[in-house]
């Protein structure tokens, strides 16, 4: 059963009356005239106390009686056949309680899991690893993407040999081709055709907490503590591996130290922890080292992108063509084409991409997969077009971008950064230090989907519990659930206690695609809304009101809409709860016809380039982002800052370097794999842009990923505006800056 409601959607200046069809038991999305008490405010995290006192218990902190320490033996060869594994000496070592050798015949990257041990101390576990004898038969390998593409290159998956595309190695997957309109006609219509070749590096997730697992068996019941961004995927995968019912697996993740896309599923280390625990008949923790994190636990693939763009003198972009490839090691996922497919009105688009396998650790989803790479090329191409036709980069974007939200964001951001200060002619400043401004656009898709559930329990003492089996990856879902429930029930946040990270609680999706908030908060609001209806009934009975009397819950009171004096206090009312408790579980509905399905966003960068040393200093980023209705101004701002800093770090510092001669990672630590520190962070003006999106009852959309998409591109455009030298390769190291400057001075070289 469903109802039709009229909703005012959009944002100031762009309101739109829309008819939404919503289920009967759903609260209508909040109206723009609604005065929020808790939602849409700057509310500190409800779990901050636990975090600042060190009492928040992460997987790495789980201490069970009799806990054993697990360690992994990983391949030291990039490619080899394993002739034999002898674990007998390790097994015999005193203190070793379990040894497991995986039944693998081939290793394809340095860091691949081969065996695992569990012992009474981490020292003994380390010693045991050294006693495992692995006989390798090393095979040729290739870690660099160019070499891997060439015919005759060592094959990562020899079985694919027959599938080699013509003239290429079988390491190359078949081309994925996406066509829109007529690309030839588009280029014909263009008055200028520009081309550029762009390269981006491999970035590792570098979550501060490693991919830790602790596992314990009681009979056939498996309990796992996991540093995960998807408790239910860990549960389901382990149930499958051990061929037991998901009901026999319980996964906890009350606190977890960052994921950024790399922490889905149990994967080898989760499975090994559980296998060790089973064999040892004792709880086992398995905590990867920083080196293993870099080698094994995910990365953002690199890319080589050839871009061709056609533009007319009036600023119309007529054709976009991107051919790209990249390597995610033994995994795919290198496509960088989505930004060019999703941004700009241009009707004629051609995107071709392929994955290239190399003997390196597998890529995993990483905050807006493919997007920072794709934006790096696309957004520089747009600037190049603008320069060619003598147009302002802001103007060309406004003209070609159909997205009303992003256009409004561009105008706002331009004002905040002082876009008129931009150099009219790049690279003409005097003096060794040059300053410039640049901008780039972002996009994201996820508006959430149906299915997430929340259980709300209201107790007779007035306290309210909310339960979700999902995890808080750091975005603050625990706090948002509390806020939404408190808002709906009209009670203060202090009455709320939210339980998360336990698969015995109701289902929540994995935190990927920036969808946790748009998936989970509507379920929370609905559960609270349904509970509130029951409280209204109770209140009407107490107040002797007609059954259908409209009621309001606000400021810890329940009262008649028509006669606010007919009122009962929250504390008083809950005392009358039959059985002392009211429990309601609700499921998030499907999406409604939203105001916007594509999340926008734009960033402006101001940089300073020291032309003597090549050092780039980012002075300021203005980041204008939308995520539907901003449910919490503090957590949302933190997401923006965090996305920006990862973008700066990607733009300037991070680079996983593999030695082509040995296949080893040269910088598997934080000493040489640098991520931005507090002193590298510029002023960040995080501007949050409320949109009444209407796709669900809280208007929430995602935010985590789009905030990191345009940063590197905006910085590159700013560097060009400062110096007149364009950087086609990431990271923009001093070395590369100086080369680009030299190139500009004497282009023949």
């Amino acid at each position: 059963m469903s109802q039709e409601i009229k909703s005012k959607l959009g944002f100031p200046g762009q309101w739109q009356e829309t008819t939404l069809r919503i289920p009967d038991d759903e609260p209508p999305p909040w109206d723009p005239s609604y005065k929020f008490q808790t939602v849409n405010k700057a509310v500190p995290r409800v779990d901050a106390f636990a975090k600042v006192t060190g009492r928040a218990t992460y997987t790495t902190d789980i201490r069970k009686p009799g806990l054993l320490y697990g360690r992994l033996l990983v391949s030291s060869h990039p490619s080899a056949t394993i002739k034999s594994i002898d674990v007998s000496k390790a097994k015999a070592l005193t203190g070793v309680k379990a040894v497991i050798a995986l039944p693998i015949k081939e290793v394809r990257f340095v860091g691949q899991e081969i065996a695992a041990v569990a012992a009474t101390s981490s020292q003994i576990a380390d010693d045991a690893l050294r006693l495992i004898k692995v006989e390798y038969d090393p095979r040729p390998f290739v870690v660099d993407v160019e070499t891997a593409r060439k015919e005759g290159a060592p094959l990562v998956f020899p079985k694919r040999a027959a599938q080699a595309p013509e003239g290429k190695s079988a390491n190359v997957t078949p081309q994925r081709i996406t066509k829109r309109g007529d690309i030839e006609a588009g280029f014909k219509r263009a008055e200028h055709i520009l081309e550029g070749q762009f390269r981006t590096q491999v970035q590792t997730h570098s979550c501060l907490e490693p991919h830790a697992f602790t596992a314990e068996w009681e009979g056939d019941q498996l309990t796992v503590w996991a540093s995960t961004q998807s408790t239910f995927s860990v549960r389901d995968e382990l149930a499958q591996v051990f061929e037991i019912s998901p009901s026999k697996v319980r996964v906890f993740s009350e606190y977890m130290g960052g994921g950024f896309g790399s922490k889905f599923g149990a994967r080898a280390s989760g499975k090994l922890a559980a296998m060790l625990a089973k064999e040892a008949k004792a709880p086992v923790c398995l905590i990867p080292s920083r080196k293993e994190e870099h080698l094994t636990h995910g990365n953002r693939p690199n890319s080589v992108q050839h871009f061709k763009m056609g533009v007319r003198n009036d600023g119309t972009i007529t054709a976009m063509q991107l051919t790209s490839y990249g390597t995610g090691g033994i995994a795919g996922g290198a496509a960088a084409t989505r930004p060019m497919l999703g941004l700009y009105r241009c009707p004629n688009k051609l995107a071709i991409d392929e994955d290239v396998f190399t003997h390196a650790g597998p890529a995993r989803a990483f905050r807006a997969p493919g997007h920072p790479q794709g934006a790096f090329s696309l957004e520089q191409m747009v600037d190049m077009c603008a320069e060619k036709i003598g147009m302002d980069p802001l103007q060309i974007r406004l003209q070609n971008d159909p997205h009303t939200v992003r256009r409004a964001q561009m105008e706002l951001g331009a004002k905040r950064i002082g876009w008129d200060r931009r150099n009219k002619t790049p690279g003409t400043q005097k003096g060794p230090i040059m300053r410039g401004l640049g901008m780039a656009s972002s996009l994201w898709y996820n508006t959430g989907s149906a299915g997430a559930e929340i259980l709300v329990k209201i107790h007779k003492d007035g306290r309210v519990e909310a339960f979700s089996g999902g995890q808080d990856i750091g975005t603050g879902i625990r706090t948002l659930i509390a806020q939404v429930v408190a808002e709906e029930l009209g009670i203060p946040l202090q009455l709320l206690h939210v339980h998360i990270g336990d698969t015995q609680h109701p289902y929540a999706p994995g935190s990927g695609g920036s969808k946790t908030t748009p998936c989970v908060t509507p379920a929370a609001r609905k559960a609270a809304f349904l509970a509130k209806q029951k409280l209204f009934d109770l209140a009407r009975t107490l107040l002797k009101l007609e059954p259908k009397t409209p009621m309001i819950a606000q400021q810890s009171r329940i009262f008649s809409k028509a006669d606010p004096k007919m009122s009962v206090d929250w504390a008083q009312l809950t005392r009358y709860l039959p059985n002392g408790i009211l429990s309601v579980q609700a499921t998030r509905a499907h999406n409604y016809a939203a105001y916007n399905n594509i999340i926008a966003g734009v960033q402006f960068a101001e940089v300073e380039v020291d032309t003597q040393t090549g050092l780039i200093r980012v002075l300021k980023i203005v980041a204008v982002h939308d995520c539907g209705l901003v449910l919490n101004k503090l957590t949302a701002r933190s997401q923006v800052n965090g996305g920006v800093i990862q973008g700066i770090s990607y733009a300037l510092f991070e680079d996983r370097i593999l030695d082509p001669r040995t296949g080893q990672m040269v910088n598997p630590n934080f000493e040489h794999y640098k991520i931005a520190g507090s002193r590298e962070i510029p002023e960040i003006d995080a501007v949050l842009f409320d949109v009444y999106a209407g796709s669900n009852n809280t208007h929430a959309l995602g935010l985590g990923e789009p905030t990191t998409v345009p940063t590197a591109a905006a910085i590159a455009n700013a560097v060009y505006n400062a110096t007149g030298a364009r950087l086609f390769e990431l990271p923009m190291t001093p070395d590369r800056v100086l080369k680009a400057l030299a190139q500009r001075r004497s282009p023949q070289k």
Partner: protein, 473 residues
């Protein structure tokens, strides 16, 4: 094995655990205080930060260290403060500020930041005066973008404006809740811990003893070996004093980089020391890292090493019954090969005091400005009379297998006038003395170019002569 006694938060700990065990493992595994986190075990993330308090005068001086590198044996007689030791039921002003400004996201880095910021509150010198963010230079956060943490820090910094100096400081900090009341009793409790009598250091003991300064190199290079080794601490055999005598500045063989950073004498002799030290490691690492360790580790880009080379340092090497002085540059024979005998301790070093005629400068360029190893670093010391250079020492790191004194260029500089041309020519000549290699810190060409810029920068900075900027490109 000698018993180690120290205060861990408000408890007296007596343990006979391995002295080479890192403090982190003791705290987390033996004591089950899991608020202190592990992010890297190499001193680069600060998730494991704790404060160490040492008796100083009537009170206790607190400094942050990365517990993942700090050897347990070193904490004898100290007060170790973990996040658990800061608050019980109410939050400290630091914690409150972190909550209110949303300085925590996933929260894994948070205890480390809270500890560092508490160290900031406990600081009684002016080291953080220029920029409070120096107090968190050793902490990494992958989530928040640091902005919220910065806001929390500035709020704390504002509250601390009211803090009295000297002996009333601790009472004030306790009253305001920055630290719990038990801190007041710590000095007396530390004094009650008996001093440890170190074993005589010999070169012929059967199990080779590993000499540790702070362990900030050794515990990165081979932590497992150190854990299980017989260790001795430089602090037990050398002093941390920094003093002036007969025209020399003497630095004890156990003095740390932070001792150098905070020494009033050094501030007089080398007025820019703070600016330079900011570019070296982070506060917690400088608190651990000894100067002698930096010299003996012989990294070609050791920052203090490069500075000391230019200053004209000599080192005192002490064995059981013998002592000798050696010019620092003669210590380095080849890549990590030293003219030091097994068993010799670097007990002191000294360099000639600076005079009004001295011009000293240190420059460093790295990928990340803070907490990063140099791509190239360089130092210069000139003695000038009028406009003529009387003595010169120019050193450079990252451009050769050893930390390099540029002897030829230094020699050439003597007698030259202080002009832009001299700077250019010196930068040019320096090139012929170096053999940089391409590595992750940059290509060989890039390093050559950097060296040139750094030499020019020395002249611009230290001599205030107009170095023509255009000439740099």
């Amino acid at each position: 094995m000698a018993e180690i006694q120290f205060l861990l938060n408000d408890r007296l700990i007596k343990t006979s655990s391995q002295e080479g065990l890192v403090l982190l493992d003791f705290v987390r595994e033996h004591q089950r205080l899991t608020g202190t986190k592990i992010g890297c075990r190499e001193g680069d993330c600060g998730a494991c930060s704790v404060l160490i308090g040492t008796l100083e005068g009537e009170g206790v001086k607190y400094l942050p260290v990365t517990s993942c590198l700090f050897p347990l044996g070193r904490v004898h007689g100290m007060h170790v403060v973990t996040v658990e030791g800061l608050s019980k039921e109410t939050l400290t002003p630091v914690q409150r500020a972190m909550v209110e400004h949303s300085g925590t996201q996933c929260g894994f880095c948070t205890p480390g930041f809270v500890v560092s910021m508490t160290g900031f509150a406990l600081e009684s010198s002016s080291v953080y005066q220029d920029d409070p963010r120096d107090a968190i230079s050793g902490n990494i956060c992958r989530c928040t973008g640091y902005k919220s943490i910065e806001r929390a820090l500035s709020e704390v910094s504002e509250q601390l404006q009211q803090k009295p100096q000297g002996s009333e400081q601790m009472a004030w900090l306790i009253e305001k809740g920055f630290v719990p009341p038990y801190f007041a009793g710590i000095p007396a409790r530390l004094r009650a811990i008996p001093a440890r009598r170190p074993a005589e250091l010999t070169s012929s003991t059967s199990a080779p003893t590993v000499l540790l300064g702070g362990g900030s190199d050794l515990n990165v290079q081979r932590p497992e070996a150190i854990r299980d080794a017989d260790v001795a601490f430089a602090q037990d055999y050398a002093s941390t004093a920094i003093e002036e005598q007969d025209g020399f500045v003497y630095i004890g063989g156990a003095a740390t980089m932070e001792d150098l950073n905070r020494s009033p004498l050094i501030a007089q002799t080398l007025p820019s020391i703070r600016a330079w030290m900011r570019l070296v490691a982070s506060t917690p690492i400088r608190t651990i890292a000894s100067i002698a360790g930096n010299l003996v580790n012989a990294s070609p880009i050791g920052d203090v090493t490069i500075l000391m080379l230019a200053l004209g340092a000599e080192i005192e090497l002490s064995a059981q019954h013998a002592q000798r002085w050696l010019p620092l540059e003669e210590l380095y024979l080849g890549y990590k090969t030293l003219s030091k005998q097994q068993g010799e301790i670097l007990s002191r070093l000294r360099f000639p005091s600076t005079t009004p005629q001295s011009r000293v400068n240190f420059e460093k360029v790295s990928k990340r400005t803070f907490l990063d190893i140099a791509s190239v670093n360089a130092a210069m010391r000139l003695e000038v009379q009028g406009d003529i250079i009387q003595k010169a020492r120019l050193s450079a790191g990252g451009v050769a297998p050893i930390p390099k004194l540029l002897r030829e260029t230094s020699r050439w500089l003597v007698g030259q006038p202080l002009t832009g041309e001299t700077a250019l020519e010196a930068a040019q000549r320096a090139q012929s003395e170096v053999q940089p290699i391409s590595d992750i810190r940059g290509s060989a060409d890039y390093k050559r170019l950097l060296l040139r810029q750094l030499v020019m920068a020395h002249f611009a900075e230290a001599t205030a002569i107009p170095v023509v900027k255009e000439a740099l490109l």
